[in-house]
Amino acid sequence: MQKLKRLAAALLSAVVICVALSVTAFADTPYVTYTINGYGQIRRTQTAYLAHSTVIKFGEESLAAPSDICLADDGLIYVADSGNRRIVVGTADGELVRIIGEGTLKNPRGVFVTADGSVYVADRDAERIFIFAPDGELTGEYGKPASPLYGDEVSFLPIKIVVNDAGIMFVVCESNTNGIVEISPTDGGTFLGYFGTNYAAVDLTTIIYRSILTDEQRAKMVSNIPATPTNLTIDGKGLIYTVTRGNENDTLKRLNIAGTNMIHNTDGTYADTPTSVAAGNHDNVYVADQQGYIFEYNNEGEMIFVFGGPDDGTQRVGLSTMVSGIAVDKNDRIYVLDSDKAQIQIYQPTEFTDLLHSALYLYSKGRYTEAKEPLTAILRMNSMFDYANKAMGRCYFREENYTEALRYARLAKDYTGYSDAYWEIRNVWLKNNIITVIIALVLLFVIIKLLKTLDKKKNILAAPRAFFGKVREKRFIDNFLYAFRFMKKPADTAYGIAAEGREGWLMPSLLLLIFMVEFVLNKYTCGFLMKGVMDGRYEILSDIGAIIAVVIAVTACTYLVCTINEGEGTVKKIYTAICYSLTPYIIFTPLVYLLSHVLTNNEIFLTTMLSILTYGWIAVIAFIGIKEVNNFTFWQTVKVLLLTAFTALILALLIFIIYVLWAQVFGFIGAVVGEGVYRLGY
């Protein structure tokens, strides 16, 4: 689904990057950095992290197929050196501190260091968790939990481990799809249960398949079992993050103590083959993709950066071959473990990223005014970095500067922030003006009452009434008003079109014109929260073209189908009926439009409801219109409409085929001419 979405996004908006030809050279890093903007488009940005240094060896000790990395609080690096069956401890400068577990470990695949320096190792082949003291002495081990809840048939192949402050172990086991194994250290290891279980995605096709397939066929289908998490990490607050390959929108999860995922991101900006996850220092989280892409997300799971990538064989620093682990130190340096290159690549944040992190930090501490300073600097470097715009808006909101908050929220396409800021602004306005508004309403009411009373007594409104009466009698105005009567009494008025000469070209076209004007105005200038198109984008000509094409096609198809079904409608009549049935839109859209400017997310359902009502109404009266104009019965109309839909489809197909054929013909002629010219000329 995620891929489909990506494909669709690619096709629709053609969100493609441009490798500008020899125009702009960027910094000389071997990779580019992307971010995501408020519209969900992937955009290039300044280099977020620079390759800083590479640890190839600790002292004289090389690594062999290392599979996990963990940083201790004192900055020491712990690497699960799987190929050499040991844990290597060293510094970022490549000095060897000690080697742990030689002789004990069989295939250490996961390593974790607690605050007190204890080293927990998940050994897959030994099927055990080993615990070492800081000096490397083995102090404990845990095997497969004895609890029946664990499952007798389920093997215990620990590959990744984290431990919380209470000493409870969270273990990812290979091919255990029940979830993360939670083991308490009490009584030699008490199985507490499964944690953060993934659920098999059940989509519509699967449901349909299941309902129609036989048991045998079902058995042949790819089994739909939930994925085992690939890796996990724990942050300072004890929250556990997991990454799971192929888990679509749940690829990255942040689990609270109850095992509930608190990240809901549907941007489709997750790694395809995540291999490791690390919690950052600013409520941010890093995910490494096996191919070498490094992602940084904020606490809501929104992608801030993605950079790095696979080594194309040129051996450039910062590109990876096969990433197996990621860790982050106190200075936001990222340590990426490459199991194929058997090395650790250290990336250092750039000024740009440092600014962003300091803004994140200040914001999380509630120092909004201070946070604005780095944010301003970021925006000066990249004014289209929507993430900073959003944070800026939120800062202003906290400072109760709602006008600015509104401005930045709009820049960032932050609908929630915009709605909140607008709610406040509206509130203030209401507070200040409520008296005036009430007085005005009362005055208006009084005036109307007065006029009516006077009119009743002295008939003072006789002259205007007579005037309107006269105007109403004019054919044009009469027809115009007739169109609106169609809304209320579609059957009667449609009969008028069919039999009383109410059809025409001018009036329906005028209505169509009004419809188009309203449509365009509403589309491009409605309230921000309702706006479905990007700011600054106008495609008015194609909008109008589309409307005209649809009206013509519908009229033509309906007419064609009605004619062969002995309908009595002419083109003119059908056109009139169809255009007249747009009147609900003409009436209600101004209301929707006005509401969209004054409503916030809390009340926006009103406009949605109104829109649904409008379209429903249009459908009903269009149906009745066609029925009456052709003098059909109900079922005849249904049949005709279905046929019309089919005809429209065929028509579209036909146009497409003709287009393709002509393109082929032109292409062929072009090729022949080109070839001929080429041969003749030379």
Binding site: V32, E351, V677
Partner: protein, 755 residues
Amino acid sequence: MDTKKPRRLLPVIIICAAVLLIAAIVVAVIIITGSETDIVKGTHSHTSPLPALGAKVEASQDYVKVAESDNYILYYYEPRFSIRLENKKTGAVLDSTVSDEKDDGRNNASWTAYMKSGIVLTAIIGTLNTYQVDMNSVQNEISTWYTDNGIYAKIHFKGNYDFELGVEVALSGDDLTVRIPDESIAEHKEGTYISTVGVFPFLGYTYLDEQDGYMLVPDGNGALIYLDNKEGRYTTGFSGLIYGIDDGMTNRTATSTLWEHYETVTSANTVTAPVFGMAHTEDEQAYLGIVESGDERCSVEVVPNGVMVDYNRCFARFLLRDVFVQPLNQSNSGTVPAVEQDRLHSDLAVRYRLLSGENADYSGMANAYRSYLLDTGKIQKRDTSYNTRVDMLGTERESFLMGTVPVTMTTAGQVGDILNDLRGLGVQNILTVYKGWQSGGLYDVPVSSFGADGYIGGNSAVKDLVKQQAELGNTVYLYDDALSVNAATHSTTYNVMKMVNKRTFENKTHGQVYDTFYYLMPGRSSSDLAHLTKDISGAGIGNIALAGITGTLFSYSSKGSYYSRTDTMDIYEDAVSAADGSCNVIAERPNAYLWRYSDAFLDMPLSSSDYMYLDREVPFLSMVLKGVVPTYSDYVNFEANKKENFLQMVESGVYPSFYVAAEDSSKLIYTNSRNLYSLEYTSYRDTIVEYDTALRAIAEKTSGACIISHEVTDSGLAKVTYDNGVVIYVNYSGSAQSDGDVTVDALSYTVKGGE
């Protein structure tokens, strides 16, 4: 019935007449356009005659002295075609082959033969190009004669190969020149060809870490590989085709993309200067290798120990003929390997400038290269006075319905306003490259006449702009990518470059609006450029910023004939030379053969391509060019590490560049320039002033002076010494550092002397 027939014939006749008319027009167009694309050769000679031969060198089983200069003695050992250079004062020795004593005996026969041969060829037999031809493993006949100041050896490789070639080795002063004259090369056997030629691939080699020192890599601005023990960490060394990869030979392969869509890996720097170097700092002996001829098809190989063998070595490898992929059908599903019809026809020549004493380091190499360039006229001393470069984007295009609509970013009037505003803020002498000035916007290429876009004000506005700004001391250049053809805006039938396999070269860019670009045939680039320069100089503008052809070189085929990189290079050189005659030309990352025509170099790289095996970056090219030609950096806009980038400019004497527009860059998100995410002038106004003030102050002190020495002090400060006595210290570290009595704050710099 009969009477109706003629009437029916009438439309037929009309159609026939119309077709004939169209055909006639087409033929006329072909003739007219055809005559313009006929430039296929340049006016340069890349060959020189064989040297006059003296007496024959007697066969000997040891090195014999064959030449001597003031400082060096050249010895020669015929059986392995090996030379040895000895410094008369210090006794330091540079060997060209691995001696038997230094053979660690850990290598296979093939590598041993390679290491002990002064010349190593690879041969193509059939379509396989992996045969190694050397003095040891292939039967050969060698005869050597004395020449004026060296020797000339004629080598005949026999066996399966039957190749002949002559090598001239001459020592004059501190220069050792090695030349294989084109006319001496003969391939006698049909179907068996020379592919590459490596001359003295082990000259100045060292074993593991036996000698302190480094090798100079011409990547980016310059980089070093130390001669320490690499412990087998690397599987490849540096191998860079001088002047970039050949788009006429190799298909551009798509690199892997994120989510199958976003390219994340950038391409590496091109080698723009044909140099490499080896410095033995312990022995105080070094050389700078300059590829003098054949450089258009030559790669620089700088290989640290541990890659195949445990010796550090650097050399030039000439590529005479290559194997390419010939598709058999339109879908490219079937391919066969094929061999180029003809080989490179240039002399293959390398000059080794020998450096000793305190010159035996990269500063010495830079000084040597500078004086070489100036002495040979390959570069001219230009006005190097300081300018801040502020480029502007005129118009771009975005898709609309079936066509495109303009996105105007900066009109000519606005360019003037911005420059005037900066002037008001004290930024004088600005160099501006106006991009996207042409009708149709930035990517409406090629441009062959002066037709400014109406949306920026048209020709008159641009003319006025250039004229007015010139009076105020600012120079506005018009940008011209003379290489690319946009398939959507221009005809690509007659004038686009076809690869050696006769397939049209396509440059797919994933652009939002235009995604396919082609290359113009060099002749066409040349005539377009001639028209354009004539037009704009006629309009009184006379400033052009060249891109595209300045940094690209390819082989191509046209009308069934094959043209080499030599032809392309010659045509480009003629074209730029002609442009230089009528206009002020500045060039974007120019290759070395265009240096002499350019008033300034744009987009000068400040760092390397980050190869793993590089140990240190040095501002080598800046040291060569500072004080001779002004160089301008990449755009500051897109730098993430602004402070470090700024300090690099201070260190290397490169002038800063900005890219701005009057409008907000968010307007560009539907154009091909969507990656220009930060352009608004208002965001950069203060930064420009800041950079200008600081860098101008330094430039005034170093005005016209050259960098004579660059080093990193023990405390980690970069110390740059100019020939007028000015010394600049740059501190990249996060804490204050000092050198002697000079203390530099963290992330800062100090300028001493020159008061």
